[in-house]
């Protein structure tokens, strides 16, 4: 048999129809009463393709895959620590740069905080307390992680 190259040609159409008919007959379990030898040959091929000799996956494949994913996942608290380290590093760099290149930035920030405190407004005080608490908690968290690697502070 020559495999036709012209996909619009009559030969291609006939052969394709035989292939598709064989596929449908095998799918629907039609009794092989067809006297068309070409379709019968394609049915044998379709049958082999529907029963491939592929070794099955092990029964515990899903459980193993999940275990691998769990192992590959970075714990959230580690991500938090990485994030905090970056923020603190940036603050240190900014502080260092301000101290080296001109203390005006620091003085300005200090005077703004003093003004907020002196104004006696609740919002101002809350802002200062929140900033102090955040910095303190971040430092505590980092300190604890350095002393007890792999464990959370709480």
């Amino acid at each position: 048999m020559n495999i036709p190259h012209d996909h619009n040609g009559e030969e291609f159409r006939r052969e394709w129809q035989a292939q598709e008919r064989a596929l449908e007959e095998e799918r629907n379990g039609v009794n092989p009463v067809s006297c068309d030898g070409v379709v019968a040959q394609y049915r044998l091929i379709a049958r082999a393709l529907r029963m491939p000799r592929i070794a099955p996956l092990p029964d515990d494949f899903a459980a193993r895959a999940v275990a691998r994913i769990e192992a590959a996942r970075v714990p959230t608290e580690d991500l938090m620590e990485i994030w905090l380290q970056r923020v603190l590093f940036l603050l240190l760099v900014a502080g260092g740069a301000a101290a080296t290149l001109g203390g005006e930035w620091l003085t300005d920030a200090y005077s703004r905080a003093s003004t907020l405190a002196r104004s006696g407004s609740a919002g101002g005080w809350m802002l200062i307390v929140a900033a102090c608490l955040s910095l303190s908690l971040a430092m505590e968290h980092l300190w604890h992680r350095r002393r007890n690697p792999g464990r959370s502070p709480r």
Binding site: M1, N2, I3, H7, F12, E15, W16, Q19, L23, R27, P32, D36, G37, V38, A40, Q41, Y42, R43, L44, I45, A46, R47, A48, L49, R50, P52, R53, I54, A55, P56, L57, P58, F61, A62, A63, R64, A65, V66, R68, I69, A72
Partner: protein, 195 residues
């Protein structure tokens, strides 16, 4: 020709939401649901069994990492199959294994076809012939093997296979046609010999 995509099933939406919210056992359920399809693709492309298992795991790892990017525009099975196909493809590229193989020229003149009186049930019971046919299927290049499996075994449409592989529908149809014709050619040669 673009066939409209079937919508994503509701149970797939629920499953995706459960996995993203890290509900216990949700991802294991997703794996169990789609491991068969994933395995068909990967094992047809990657012959080495251990490698195939690793690639299949790798595919599900990628599914897990990128599931939040799934936009429900296509069925979940197509999206997962796409990830499995690209994982297997990357493996073949790393190992420098050709995907489609070389197109071999077809013999111009072949012996006259002998198809009359082909007894399907007798041929099906002929273990030697069936073994030979399976060997011919295994000898096909990875892409052709995969396309045949997705079409015949997983009953995917040409449109779906096209979306999974990123290959034009016309090319998929051509691969299907030529691979099956080639298999019939080999089958015909064997039955002629055995007569």
């Amino acid at each position: 020709m673009n066939v409209p995509q079937p919508p994503c099933r509701d149970d797939d939406r629920q499953l995706v939401a459960a996995v993203i919210s890290r509900a216990p056992k949700a991802f294991e359920q997703l794996i169990r649901q789609y491991q068969g399809l994933c395995w068909h693709i990967v094992s047809r492309m990657v012959v080495h069994r251990e490698d195939a298992r690793d690639v299949c795991q790798e595919a599900f790892l990628r599914v897990y990492r990128h599931l939040h990017q799934y936009r429900f525009e296509s069925p979940l099975r197509s999206w997962i199959a796409q990830v499995a196909y690209s994982s297997a493809l990357r493996h073949l590229e790393r190992k420098r294994i050709p995907l489609a193989g070389m197109e071999q020229g077809d013999p111009q003149e072949r012996a006259a076809e002998v198809t009359d009186g082909f007894d399907l049930e007798a041929a099906s019971a002929d273990a030697e012939l069936v073994d030979a046919l399976h060997a011919e299927i295994e000898a096909l290049p990875p892409l052709q093997r995969t396309i045949l499996t997705l079409y015949h075994l997983d009953e995917l449409t040409i449109g779906e296979i096209s979306r999974i592989t990123g290959i034009a529908e016309g090319t998929i149809k051509s691969h299907l046609f030529r691979s099956r014709a080639k298999l019939r050619d080999r089958l015909g040669a064997r039955t002629r010999v055995s007569r």
